[in-house]
Symmetry: C2
Subunit: 146 residues, 2 copies
DNA sequence: TATTAAATAATAATTTTTATAATCTGCTTG
DNA sequence: CAAGCAGATTATAAAAATTATTATTTAATA
């Protein structure tokens, strides 16, 4: 359940000397409970009622903190704004080019790519990112679409 | 050599009814000759001398045109601005998290990922994107770095 | 509970990208 | 090879996202 995840995440933060503020708790909770891939602004809007005077900068700052702690991944596409994904289990994303929908899927063992890349380039590899693009079932039906 | 590539790209554009303007020619040439991953602004600055009154909007517009024609791919990272890569042969990118350097490397056959994703999600897949993150040899040496 | 370093809020500023409208030009047709 | 038109470019302006700044507040520690 979500509570465990939240507690776990908070411990990770505490361990690296990050203070737990109500705002941080709320942002983490939002990410974990909703299991979505929100933009910073979506998070801000969602928490506006609980924190009437929270600042957008706070959302950005904390997402950056979470990202540095490895709790959150930033997803950037060609469009306007970044999206943020709570880094639970390893999974990849498939994105509909028509409507922008993001669906998670799992795929095992792309670690070999990292190994190969290390050998070929001399880099020390930390992680990788992979996304698949296409058209979702809904948009395939709605043929009357751009 | 680069000339062939440019001519080829221009034919692709003509075939899909896109006009060849001097600006478009120059942007294509820049992408192909430099084999880099420039931002729109870098392209703009590089061509400023040849086209003293070119507009940044032109660069953006044309990159979008090229992208739609499949000649160019947009690379977006967490940082500020998109980068654009002339789509030659299939290759992936490894990015240094310390200095931002982008190095190309080839890796065969990730088509299976697309197939799996199609089956699992019901999407129709068009293509995929994959990047590896780490530290480049230069930055590994310069330990005195953020 | 007092202290202090870190976090927040409230702007402001920057930066990237897109929209608009007037002017210009590549390309096709006659 | 000249004319005409659809599409392209310029020059702004506007929008949108993100970062910087600074005064105020607060979480965690002793």
């Amino acid at each position: 359940m979500a509570n465990g995840r939240i507690r776990e995440a908070i411990n990770t933060l505490k361990a690296s000397g990050v203070r737990i503020t109500p705002q941080r708790h709320a942002i983490l909770e939002y990410l974990i409970v909703n299991m979505s891939h929100p933009t910073a602004d979506e998070i801000y809007k969602a928490l506006e009622s609980k924190f009437p005077n929270m600042s957008v900068a706070t959302v950005y700052n904390n997402l950056r903190v979470f990202k540095r702690a490895g709790l959150v991944k930033e997803l950037t596409y060609g469009d306007s704004s970044s999206r943020f994904d709570f880094a639970t289990t390893d999974h990849y994303h498939i994105i509909c080019e028509a409507c922008g929908k993001i669906v998670d899927f799992t795929y095992p063992g792309l670690d070999e790519v990292e190994t190969v890349a290390e050998h070929v380039t001399g880099f020390t590899v930390k992680n990788h990112r992979m996304e698949v693009y296409g058209t979702c079932p809904d948009c395939k039906n709605n043929t009357i679409k751009n």
